[in-house]
């Protein structure tokens, strides 16, 4: 009933917020004007579309940039259609791309409507999210994993590592070689290094990881001696005697 009212009042308000995007708005206008999607009068629909945008006081570029983009596309198609041609549309109808897009979007919207109903029906079926105690409760830890989980796990682990004092700083890259030199220099000055402390002092996550691998390299090259006294406890690093002597 409300829709009949819309037809009667030419100055009805279209709120951009109710549309999922420019295609949604276009489809609405096409249906309102009872236009055949396959043969869109571009001039008419462009005017309607621009009216909708103009009625809005302020365009929120964050959310509504795509609406402007579509306006530009419509104007472009309109100008293409106006170009004098030897034959009507010798190559391709300039509307072709937009029409295909609209047809596919229309199908998706229809599928959404059906799925929405199914979701509604399904919401009445309650399944359990966990097993009550007793029984053979399995590991609660278990989860089905995807590639996304794998990558996310790794990067959040890296970030969690040694607190939140890591910042993702771009543009500063550190090489393992330089880090190794830095560690050796520090060891020459202070003779012993608390590695976890040094690790968490690193400015960026990348630096921290690089410093960790630099230490591994140093250990591998038998230049330093690293001892972790107990699990979870700090790693103490010493310069090996022969290396220390060489340095002097």
């Amino acid at each position: 009933m409300g829709t009949v009212l819309l037809e009667d009042r030419p100055q009805y308000e279209v709120r951009l917020e109710v549309f999922e995007g420019p295609l949604d708005l276009l489809l609405f206008l096409i249906r309102k004007k009872k236009i055949d999607v396959h043969n869109i009068p571009i001039a008419v629909i462009t005017r309607e579309y621009l009216d909708c945008l103009q009625r809005k006081e302020r365009i929120n570029l964050d959310r509504e940039a795509e609406f402007l983009l579509m306006a530009a596309l419509l104007i472009h198609i309109k100008s293409q259609m106006l170009l004098p041609r030897e034959e009507p549309f010798p190559e391709e109808d300039p509307r072709r791309f937009l029409v295909d897009q609209l047809l596919e979007y229309q199908k998706i919207k229809a599928a959404c409507a059906i799925l929405k109903e199914k979701e509604e029906e399904q919401s009445l079926f309650w399944t359990r999210e966990g097993l009550p105690p007793l029984a053979e409760a399995g590991d609660v830890d278990l989860a089905e994993v995807s590639l996304f989980d794998l990558a996310e796990t790794f990067f959040s682990l890296m970030k969690r590592k040694e607190g939140e004092n890591f910042r993702l700083v771009k543009g500063k890259s550190v090489s393992i070689e330089n880090k190794m030199k830095e560690i050796v220099r520090l060891l020459e000055e202070e003779s012993v290094l608390d590695f976890l402390e040094y690790f968490s002092r690193q400015e960026t996550l990348e630096e921290a990881i690089v410093s960790f691998f630099s230490l591994l390299e140093l250990i591998k090259a038998r230049m330093v001696l690293a001892i972790q006294e107990q699990l979870f406890h700090s790693i103490k690093v010493w310069l090996r005697k022969d290396v220390a002597r060489k340095g002097k």
């Binding site: 409300g2 829709t3 009949v4 819309l6 037809e7 279209v14 709120r15 109710v18 549309f19 999922e20 995007g21 420019p22 295609l23 949604d24 609405f28 249906r31 309102k32 795509e66 579509m70 897009q101 596919e104 979007y105 229309q106 199908k107 998706i108 919207k109 229809a110 599928a111 959404c112 409507a113 059906i114 799925l115 929405k116 199914k118 979701e119 509604e120 029906e121 399904q122 919401s123 009445l124 079926f125 309650w126 399944t127 359990r128 999210e129 966990g130 097993l131 029984a135 053979e136 089905e144 995807s146 590639l147 996304f148 990558a151």
Partner: protein, 184 residues
């Protein structure tokens, strides 16, 4: 008393928090003939379907799972103190349908079909485990590709992707829309 096959299956479906696939069921019941397992399963589903029970075995998301009967929903919600089960947003529905019909698909392909940037929605859907990243496309930039999950199927009560609305169903909806007035 030794339990029969149907009772054993009942207990197995019961402890499954995700729909139990026939495959897994057969694996767990490898000491029984596969045909008998299937038969007993059908039997079990039927015995719960006469509407005389508060719970039932439903086939969804590629397997079998216990759920409450829909008619019990008001009391279940009262017990769990939930007003309404959370539903997906319009943007999430659109993105999900696009992925469902066009999978495997990249983020920019989704954007082209929707006409809107969908990265935030993709994130939400990944978090809800409705979609997953399955690899990369062999095209410039090697973008990540997405697919829907079994959880997506179960959310809509679908058993497989073949249960998605068909071309005919979609055409019917579009036909209805043409004859009625639009609603924003």
């Amino acid at each position: 008393m030794t339990p029969g096959l149907k009772e054993i299956i009942e207990s197995l479906v019961f402890i499954s928090l995700e729909p139990l696939t026939l495959e897994k069921l057969k694996e767990a019941l490898a000491d029984f003939p596969a045909a008998e397992v299937e038969e007993a399963l059908t039997d079990l589903v039927r015995s719960y379907s006469d509407g005389s029970r508060g719970i039932q075995v439903i086939q969804t998301g590629g397997g079998y799972i216990f759920s409450t009967r829909p008619e019990c929903d008001p009391w279940v919600r009262r017990l769990l103190k939930i007003d309404r089960k959370s539903k997906l947003s319009g943007a999430a529905m659109e993105t999900l349908s696009i992925i469902a019909y066009h999978q495997p698909i990249t983020s920019s392909e989704i954007q082209a079909l929707r006409g809107v940037d969908s990265s935030y929605t993709l994130k939400t859907l990944l978090e809800k485990r409705m979609i997953r990243i399955v690899g990369r496309k062999n095209s410039p930039g090697r973008p990540l590709i997405y697919r829907t999950t079994d959880r997506f199927l179960a959310h809509f009560g679908l058993n497989s992707l073949e249960d998605l609305p068909t071309e005919e169903e979609i055409a019917r909806i579009l036909g209805e829309e043409k004859t009625s007035e639009p609603e924003p």
